[in-house]
């Protein structure tokens, strides 16, 4: 459909009262989950499968002197050993950049890097085979700190040097801005590596088909990324590899990244070489070691403002600590740098973001993609500034927030009022002023506990923007019973986005969501729809779904008009019927129309497509419009700090997001709550610790994620709708967004409670206690 037709189609949909959009609709796949149906990869295995696991490096940086697999090969139950020499195709597993071998050749660059694969009849045989495998390493000097890694004498991790990229923002004249400021503050902020930690561990199941095809069923976000790499590794033509996404127990970024490629390639190699079904997965500890982590960040913010709180200048220096392979580091630093000032208008901005290779374990895509770290540094900085100016943090923010007509750090003009709507609603719902005073009174009692309330605001550049081609493909077909089948390579892994697509299709065809059936993503059945990342399925995929529905209508409308004796423009699709506008007595059930269309020989299979406009910005100055639209949000957190133990408890959160248009309110509710809880974990205890490149927080006892009793007692939420320019029916991205603000918001609430802004996350008890001792307010019973 041409842009104009599809736009008109959307206008027509928006003009009437929505039929299903915005209504409480149950997830299309919820029934399978509550009944415990076998839908995940390991639920689908055939009887006898081979098991595959990797021999992994215990060193963060070493040369491989020799490999001896003879003892392993001789063991009972071991069927095959695969090193880089046995790879039939190309030894390349890097998700975007071909810098990461599937199996190390002569050098390992991080702890846990795979050196060889052991294939066996059962897991015990494989584990024993791995234990008997001999690799002689010669440790090399390694580097773990990003600033050290940039020194000229630092160990060089990859040929081209340790600096991946340098992202710049040059807006106005920052020196003049500082010179005219009444107040200038400068602070350094740090955040650690963190695990995305989907509960379902990476897993892939591959089997050879009689025609020589290798089929791979796996847990992942991007079947086509996996497909591209598996066929490359196997050296097969595209049609000889088929990848199907099984139900996927959590994504959070890592499952769009390196590790799903690894397990799929392991299983496919074993299946291909041994002509038998094979399963590759990790132990929990192994998954945590090798899965791409949330990058560790070090950010220095310098901010200048007038005495009445108008921001004049902002300088940010950001260091992103990457693993030894690019993964998505070059893109994460870009998003972090573009968002370095937070959602405020600052006339003069200078920012330098550096992504740096180190010998830490892999880091890459994780929910939020650099935005949580950038907002943490910006929003705590704003609170410190408010304190310095003697202003209420909310008042300072309202003086500077992005409003219609404001220019962002990249000088992109904002044209909607979403942020102000969010701030006003949050202030009201959280009773900001009263509670702030209430907690200050409470704290004057000088008991064991102190309470505080803090706020943080966000803007989030939508979907891929500068991160890649922002297109999507959605296929629809209708069977004679009137059921609409929706299939796409975009995937569901928890956010409910595919339910949103079903809702949009149901809306456009006036049918019940239950009559839209979603088929599994399968590289053989669908075209590459681009990656399922960047919270883009509802926004961009939704446009492709509407395009597909419009194409179906274009096939059905002439027939319907003929049957009903009306003009095509008069047709209304609603309540499972097609009727003449203004005369509901003249109607035909959708089902009946479909039946007659098929009888007439009409083809009811369509392919919907949408591509967002390319975005432009200048690489030297960062100036331009890197994103097509922005999501806005505000989060207030209320905390209680135990002055004896340093424990922080989140009592309540109040979250308001500008979602553009709420397509799937029930899904939004779960995502906003869940993201807030995940972000609370980031704020309070999540920290993946490495000592000289070796992980020490492996396993669920070493690394804590929020449990039910740690979640806030209450999360008050509301959505506001300030339509986005490109999203389906005005929708804005929301999947990742709720995880962005908790670190900043909770840190600001703790500062309100104890009178000091901790500048490094997590706010674990030992760190809080240290601050309390320093402040002289630790509680002594």
């Amino acid at each position: 459909m041409d842009e104009e037709t599809i736009r008109r189609f959307e206008e027509i949909l928006k003009a009437r009262e929505f039929y299903v959009v915005g209504k409480k609709v149950a997830r299309v796949d919820a029934l399978d989950a509550v009944l415990g149906r076998p839908i995940y990869t390991t639920d689908l295995l055939s009887d006898r499968v081979l098991y595959v696991r990797a021999v992994r490096s215990p060193h963060p940086h070493a040369l491989i002197r020799s490999i001896d697999s003879s003892a392993t090969r001789a063991m009972r139950g071991v069927v095959d050993v695969i090193t880089h020499r046995e790879i039939p195709g190309v030894n390349d597993a890097g998700s975007l950049t071909s810098d990461r071998p599937l199996l190390a050749v002569d050098r390992v660059r991080h702890y846990g890097e795979a050196v060889a694969l052991v294939v066996g009849e059962d897991e015990v045989a494989v584990d024993e085979g791995i234990a008997a495998f001999r690799v002689e390493y010669e440790p090399l000097p390694a580097v773990f700190d990003p600033v050290e890694a940039l020194r000229p004498d630092a160990p060089r991790i990859q040929e081209q040097g340790n600096l991946i990229n340098h992202v710049k923002i040059r807006k106005g004249n920052v020196e003049e801005g500082f010179a005219s400021s009444d107040v200038v503050i400068k602070n350094e902020f740090r955040t650690p590596f963190m695990n995305g930690l989907p509960m379902e561990i990476e897993v892939a199941y591959a089997y050879p088909e009689p025609d020589g095809t290798v089929t791979c069923i796996a847990s992942m976000q991007n079947p086509f990324d996996v497909h591209n790499k598996v066929l490359k590794v196997l050296g097969l033509p595209p049609e000889k590899v088929r990848v199907i996404q099984a139900a996927t127990g959590g994504g959070f970024g890592p499952k769009s990244d390196e590790s799903p490629i690894d397990v799929a390639a392991y299983a496919a190699l074993a299946a291909y070489r041994n002509r038998r079904p094979a399963l590759a997965t990790f132990t929990r500890e192994e998954a945590m070691a090798v899965q791409t982590k949330r990058h560790s960040f070090r950010i220095v913010n310098e901010t200048g403002a007038t005495s009445d709180g108008k921001l004049l200048a902002w300088r940010s220096t950001l260091y992103l600590t990457n693993g030894p392979y690019y993964s998505k580091g070059h893109l994460v630093i870009q998003r972090a740098t573009f968002h370095c000032t937070g959602p405020y208008e600052v006339p003069n901005v200078w920012a330098d973001g550096y992504a740096v290779l180190t010998n830490n374990t892999l880091a890459g895509s994780t929910r939020g993609f650099g935005a949580p770290e950038a907002h943490f540094a910006a929003e705590v900085q704003m609170d410190i500034l408010a304190e310095k100016l003697g202003m209420d943090p909310l008042e300072l923010r309202m003086k500077n927030v992005l409003r219609p007509g404001s220019l962002t750090a990249t000088s992109q003009r904002i044209d909607d009022n979403g942020l102000v709507m969010c701030v006003e609603a949050t202030a009201r719902l959280s009773r900001w002023k009263e509670r702030r005073q209430e907690y200050e009174r409470f704290n004057r009692l000088n008991g064991r506990y102190r309470r505080g309330i803090g706020i943080a605001l966000l803007y989030h550049g939508n979907t891929l923007g500068p991160e890649g081609d922002d297109f999507a493909v959605v296929h629809l077909s209708v069977d004679p019973s009137g059921k609409v089948e929706l299939q796409t390579g975009l995937t569901e892994y928890g956010t409910g986005a595919l339910t949103s697509l079903a809702i949009l299709v149901a809306e456009a065809l006036g049918i019940d969501v239950k009559d839209v059936e979603i088929l599994r993503p399968d590289t053989r059945a669908v075209r590459n729809p681009g990656p399922t990342v960047a919270s883009r399925t509802t926004v961009i995929g939704g446009r492709a779904a509407l395009d597909a529905a419009a194409k179906l209508r274009a096939v059905l409308d002439p027939l319907a008009a003929k049957i009903l004796g009306c003009k095509q423009e008069e047709l209304v699709y609603s309540d499972g019927r097609v009727m003449v506008a203004g005369d509901p007595t003249r109607s035909i059930p959708f089902r009946e129309l479909v039946r007659r269309a098929i009888e007439t020989g009409l083809d009811l299979r369509v392919e919907g497509y949408y591509k967002a406009p390319d975005t432009r910005w200048d690489k030297e100055t960062g100036q331009g419009a890197p994103y097509n639209q922005y999501t806005f949000g505000a989060l207030v957190s209320e905390v209680e700090v135990d002055l004896l133990t340093g424990m922080v408890r989140v009592l309540r959160m109040t979250a308001v997001y500008d979602v553009g248009k709420a397509i799937n309110p029930l899904g939004l509710k779960a995502v906003i709550e869940g993201g807030s809880i995940m972000g609370m974990g980031h704020a309070l205890f999540e920290e993946f610790i490495l000592e000289n490149g070796v992980p020490v927080t492996l396993g669920l006892q070493g690394y804590s994620i929020p449990a039910s009793t740690e979640a806030p007692l209450e999360i008050v939420q509301q959505v506001v709708e300030s339509e986005g320019k490109i999203g389906a029916l005005g929708a804005k991205a929301m999947g990742e967004i709720p995880v962005v603000l908790p670190m900043a918001s909770i840190t600001n609430a703790v500062a309100h409670a104890i009178g000091y802004h901790i500048r490094e996350t997590p706010l674990k008890p030992s760190r809080v206690l240290e601050a309390l001792e320093e402040l002289g307010i630790a509680y002594r019973p």
């Binding site: 509550v34 076998p38 869940g674 979640a711």
Partner: protein
């Protein structure tokens, strides 16, 4: 020889000394609703009801389940007749990635049976042994409250 009932149906089978209940349920008897996430009792994905109480089935040796009545998510309702907790999970939007949901509905059923639904804090504590990375805990709580209201 171990004899146990799963979802009301009796099974008798030979088990190895070190075989765990989750292995028996998943791989010997095919109850795929029982998930595995760590094998160490940390994540709770393998929770089933054993003689009416939630247990981490990865921490139960299969021979210890001799004579036990086990209930899994497959055994508390059907598509045409969902358990009230299952119904409430769907209506309250509790399902995100879905991976912990079979365990979560069982905990919900137990909390409901125990009469904990009136006390939200007790519901929260009932879920203490299950990790949900999607953070659906408040949805679980709402679901149990709603299921109790419907009864």
């Amino acid at each position: 020889m171990v004899s146990l009932k799963v979802n009301g149906k009796p099974y008798t089978l030979e088990v190895a000394e070190n075989e765990t209940l989750v292995e028996v349920l998943r791989y010997r008897l095919g109850f795929m609703g029982v998930k595995e996430g760590c094998g160490e009792g940390d994540c709770g994905l393998c929770i089933v009801l054993m003689n009416g109480r939630p247990v981490h089935s990865c921490l139960v040796l299969a021979w210890r389940a001799d004579g036990a009545e086990i209930v899994t998510a497959e055994g508390i309702g059907t598509e045409s007749s969902l358990h009230p907790v299952q119904r409430a999970f769907i209506d309250e939007g509790a399902v995100q990635c879905g991976f912990c949901i079979p365990a979560a509905v069982l905990i919900g059923k137990w909390a409901l049976d125990k009469g904990l639904a009136k006390d939200r804090e007790k519901i929260r504590w009932a879920y203490r042994g299950l990790l949900c990375r999607c953070g659906s805990y408040i949805r679980f709580e709402e679901s149990v409250v709603r299921a109790a209201e419907g009864e």
